[in-house]
């Protein structure tokens, strides 16, 4: 059994052999990435699970959900190790690069301000501190996503109004704020593997690359529909965008009309190079395997699709 409701995030572990998927159906699934065999399910969340991450050694999994909790799981046994109670839903979780902290982006709701909560993690014991090390607050609209920058020095957060903020999280200081770099809600934010730049996707039908320390725009990829997610491939100079018309806007049932394809762009030239079809609904999340040989997409249709590239993908050379 996979997911019965729209996917919210898919993620590979560092080795790339495992694929974690979370969805609005409250379940967290773990799969073998090479053949799609399900290893197990982490059960316990009482609401839509919004986000998932695992540490670098693939021993711990953290999830954030709409039941106002974030949970830490033992990856191998599925045992729940710890539950953090937060004031509102947890939209995004991510281990720091050194695995010693977790950031949690919380929703703005019921009078509670949104925030980025940072908790310290002690790998040696299942017991974790319920006291956040730091809470970062937004000076702008609410947060939609956040990611750790290189050497865990920075946290980059995206906002609903299309702006970005760079935090020196340890000192709770806003280093830089880039207002309205997108013309719509920023839907996803994914760091490059070394944390020096990142890609954002937005409902304004574009995805953009930004440099972490300066928040300077580097590249822009234009699509013809709202973009829900954007990922970078680690080996080829490509980015993958996923999105599609919101179900509320779809006027006909034609899947072609909804633009539910994964779109490939050349990272440097900004040209669209190809599309992969498959989903029957908008694509909510895309992750690329760390070895760059496959990618996974999760859709509003409840399917996770793992695509292994054809051999000519690796031999394809862009002329220049």
């Amino acid at each position: 059994m996979g997911h019965t409701r729209p996917l919210t995030q898919v993620k590979y572990n560092v080795d790339g052999d495992l694929l974690m998927t979370v969805a609005k159906d409250k379940t967290v699934n773990l799969w073998y990435s090479h053949n799609g065999e399900r290893i197990g399910t982490y059960e316990g969340h009482q609401g839509s699970v919004w986000s998932v991450d695992c540490n670098k050694t693939s021993t711990l999994i953290v999830t954030g959900a709409a039941d106002n909790t974030a949970r830490l799981w033992h990856a191998e046994t599925g045992r729940m190790l710890h539950t953090w109670e937060l004031p509102t839903a947890v939209k995004r979780v991510e281990f720091s690069r050194d695995d010693r902290h977790i950031l949690m982006v919380t929703e703005e709701r019921m009078g509670h301000k949104c925030g980025i909560y940072i908790f310290a993690i002690d790998i040696s014991t299942p017991e974790q501190s319920n006291e956040p090390v730091v809470i970062l607050r937004s000076s702008s609209a609410k947060f939609t996503a956040a990611a750790w920058g290189y050497l865990d020095k920075y946290i980059v957060a995206s906002h609903e109004n299309g702006s970005l903020t760079l935090f020196d999280w340890a000192n709770e200081e806003v280093l830089r704020h880039a207002p309205a770099v997108h013309e719509g809600v920023i839907t996803d934010l994914q760091m490059w593997k070394d944390g020096s730049y990142f890609i954002t996707s937005s409902k304004d039908k574009t995805a953009r690359l930004f440099e972490t320390t300066t928040l300077d725009p580097i590249k822009m990829y234009k699509a013809d529909t709202g973009i829900n997610t954007a990922a970078m491939t680690p080996t080829q100079d490509l980015v993958i965008l996923g999105g599609g018309q919101d179900s509320s806007e779809v006027t006909t049932t034609s899947s072609r009309q909804g633009k539910f394809e994964s779109r490939f762009y050349h990272k440097v030239f900004e040209d669209e190079v190809g599309r992969v079809k498959g989903h029957f609904g908008p694509i909510n999340t895309i992750a690329v395997a760390p070895d760059g040989k496959s990618f996974a997409s999760g859709g509003e249709d409840g399917y996770v699709r793992v695509h292994h590239y054809d051999p000519d993908y690796f031999t394809f050379q862009y002329d220049y």
């Binding site: 050194d98 290189y150 862009y318």
Partner: protein, 743 residues
């Protein structure tokens, strides 16, 4: 002269000397009194017996524009050699007021009293003024010559490309059409037009529509060439050779409103006078931008505004005449030179439903003289009178041919683009009046006695298109059993696609295979969902398209001369017709051939729906060249080309030598392609080297910062080296199993 001061005031008014003021503000008395007199020249010379009658006629003419004073018409006479007193051919008319005199001058100058007498009406004061002019000619200062840009420069493009204009979002852009790479932008301006854009029929001008009026642009620099002030203009129509322009607005003309819009001090730019007040349609000189005449909206007999179709004024092909009809009652033909009604009266045509000019001046093949222009109109059944199609020659107004029709539901007029034939598509009731069918009545308009061929269909033809080629009379129709148009939404998108068939017909002269001359059915494509037909401007190729439906978006590219050998073999001309390719354009709403017939653009316009907007370029064979998706794309129009100046012989010659030309042109294309590729490659190389330099900087920065961080205690988790390992998997497969008993 005594100096007056405050202490020394004059005792009485008489003491003051006003002579200086009187001199300064002198009012010549006679001018005041003669402003209301006009001189009417070029009236017939009559003797005393007829004088009274002529005065009465003049009175009647001038009465419309003002009150003529009692005994206000004075006609000088002289006694000729025969001893009889004759008028001198001019008269003075005295009006009550000067305004009335002005109105008479404005309206009656050039008025045709009869065939040989057009009145020349001038102010009497003008005569005075001109007599005072110095007899010695003084040359006016010479204005420096300002060279006008070549309005047809785009035709001399070295690669023979065509231009098109795209209106998307707020941006209006002109492009060169390209096939190997994306279209090359010529110019693009934001908010260049407020409603839409339009080319003039020969492509010289690009017309933009604004709240204040229209502007024409053109030439290589896209300069403003002319401006036409017409508030809230909605519709534009050019005469066939771009000399005149007709505009229509929803707002009646108000001189004050235009003055207000122009601002104080600019009143002289206002093209309107008090006589244009309340009118909605204007005819302009497109070259100079001056207003020729304005017209009131058409009213029905009960005084309501009639709903009309556009163009309201239809031009004769020579541009000499323009005509508009008043639905159900009359047809008014105007002469373009004078903007006056032909023969001073409209043609009464009770019941007139529609009319159409023959679109081309037809020349007599023997004498090479232009044949008189012709128009056609039809009237429905009325009581005992049958419905009737009439061909009328203009300006003589002679009826060339009429044909009576029975059981008519409606009719539409389709002239062959070259003018040699008119097809009247008549929707008729069956005898039971329960269903309908179509008759095609084809008038060979310029042949002797105007023969009519009739094609009776079993079902209804819903669309008709002539092949726009002079030599042959070939056409295609869409026909269907169910003539009721499908339900459409407010923007004209149908919710269903009706099953239709497409048939081709051609006129065949008597020959070996053809016993009876007339129109023959060539071929029928059944079970289609076609809603529109578009012949290539060069003929031969035609597109069958399903436009503006919610479910079907098919395009069939048809070649009517594809397999000529099959046709020759079977003796059936229709066997040559074949569908070359079938394409699909999701959400297609419009379709337009380029003026050369090489390419076709299909469009999905945001005026019609909110689906995917943009356009696709196809070649005539139905191969997709490129697809452009543009947010809020509205319209695309190819820039029309003037008619070719080459003679038919020259064209044939070129066609014969096409191979030698095409070799050269192919090479040219190749070179251009390479040049573009090289440009793209160098651009990419630049981008990639910029990227790499940036990455090197970042990598160096990261390396040093990582060192620093590690020294100060930052620890990265130990991750198993990510080297790949090979898992040996042994798969055993039993190929064959044999049991043998060994003794």
């Amino acid at each position: 002269m005594v100096e007056f001061t405050a202490n020394n005031l004059p005792a009485a008014e008489a003491d003051i000397d006003f002579s200086d003021l009187e001199k300064q503000f002198v009012v010549p008395e006679h001018e005041e009194t003669l402003e209301n007199v006009v001189v009417v020249d070029n009236i017939p010379v009559v003797d005393e017996a007829k004088e009274e009658k002529l005065v009465q006629v003049l009175k009647k003419v001038f009465k419309k524009h003002g009150t003529v004073k009692a005994n206000g018409i004075h006609m000088p006479k002289e006694t000729g050699s025969s001893g009889k007193a004759k008028t001198k051919g001019y008269a003075f008319v005295e009006f009550e007021t000067a305004q009335q005199a002005h109105a008479a001058i404005a309206n009656l100058n050039g008025y045709k009293l009869d065939k040989s007498h057009s009145l020349l009406v001038n102010a009497f004061m003008d005569v005075e003024r001109y007599t005072e002019i110095n007899d010695v000619y003084q040359a006016p200062p010479e204005e420096p010559f300002e060279e006008r840009e070549h309005l047809r420069s785009w035709l001399s493009d070295a690669y023979g490309r065509d231009q098109f204009v795209v209106y998307a979002d707020h941006e209006l852009s002109v492009f060169w059409n390209e096939t190997a790479h994306p279209a090359e932008k010529v110019i693009s301006r934001s908010n260049w037009t407020e409603a839409y854009a339009q080319w003039s029929p020969l492509g010289s001008f690009l017309c933009t529509v604004h709240e204040q009026g229209l502007v024409l642009w053109g030439g290589p620099s896209w300069k403003k060439l002319a401006r036409f002030i017409h508030r809230n203009v909605k519709l534009i129509d050019f005469s066939p050779s771009e000399r005149y322009l007709v505009t229509c607005s929803t707002e009646p003309i108000s001189v004050d409103a235009v003055n207000q819009m122009l601002g104080a001090g600019n009143e002289h730019q206002n093209p309107y006078s008090i006589d244009d007040e309340g009118h909605t349609v204007c005819v302009w000189d497109a070259q100079t931008g001056s207003l020729l005449r304005s017209f009131p909206p058409i009213k029905t007999e009960d005084g309501k505004l009639a709903k009309g179709s556009w163009p309201q004024f239809k031009w004769s092909p020579s541009e000499k005449y323009l005509a508009r009809m008043t639905y159900n009652s009359s047809l008014s033909v105007y002469e373009a030179d004078t903007m006056a009604l032909l023969d001073k009266k409209s043609i009464k045509v009770p019941g007139i439903q529609d009319f159409s000019w023959c679109p081309r001046v037809v020349y007599d093949p023997r004498t090479n003289a232009a044949r008189p222009e012709m128009l056609a109109y039809w009237t429905p059944e009325e009581g005992n009178l049958p419905a009737r199609v009439t061909l009328m020659s203009v300006p003589s107004r002679t009826i060339v041919r009429t044909k009576n029709l029975f059981n008519v539901f409606s009719a539409s007029l389709h002239w062959h683009p070259e003018g040699q034939a008119l097809c009247v598509r008549v929707q008729r009731y069956t005898k039971s009046k329960k269903s309908r069918f179509t008759n095609l009545e084809i008038f060979r308009a310029y042949e002797r006695d105007v023969p009519v061929d009739v094609i009776e269909l079993k079902d209804c033809a819903v669309a008709f298109d002539w092949e726009p080629v002079a030599d042959n009379m070939r056409f295609a129709i869409i026909h269907t059993d169910d003539p009721t148009p499908p339900v459409t939404n407010a923007t004209g998108i149908a919710s269903t696609a009706v099953n239709t068939s497409v048939s081709f017909y051609a006129f065949e002269r008597k020959g070996k295979l053809v016993k009876k001359e007339g129109f023959q059915l060539l071929k029928t494509f059944d079970r289609k969902k076609v809603t529109a037909l578009k012949w290539s401007p060069q003929g031969r190729h035609i597109i069958l398209a399903t436009l503006r439906t919610i479910s079907t978006f098919e395009l069939d590219f048809v070649d009517t001369e594809f397999d000529q050998s099959a046709a020759n073999k079977s003796g059936v001309a229709g066997d040559a017709i074949s569908i070359l390719a079938t394409g699909e354009h999701y959400g297609v709403t419009d379709l337009e051939w380029d003026p050369t017939g090489r390419y076709v653009v299909t469009m999905a316009s945001s005026w019609r729906h909110s689906m995917e907007h943009g356009y696709i370029l196809w070649d005539f064979k139905g191969e997709l060249i490129h697809k452009t998706v543009v947010e809020r794309f509205k319209q695309l129009i190819w820039r029309p080309r003037p008619r070719s100046l080459l003679s038919d012989e020259k064209k044939r010659e070129i066609r014969k030598d096409l191979k030698s030309f095409s070799k050269e042109l192919d090479e040219q294309d190749e070179r251009r392609l390479h040049a573009a590729d090289a440009e793209l490659m160098s651009q990419r190389r630049r981008l990639i080297s910029e990227w790499q330099t940036w990455r090197e900087q970042v990598d160096a920065m990261l390396a040093s910062e990582t060192d620093e961080a590690l020294q100060s205690g930052y620890k990265l988790p130990i991750v198993a080296d990510d080297q790949e390992f090979v898992v040996d998997e042994i798969v055993e497969e039993v190929i064959e199993e044999k049991e043998e008993i060994i003794n």
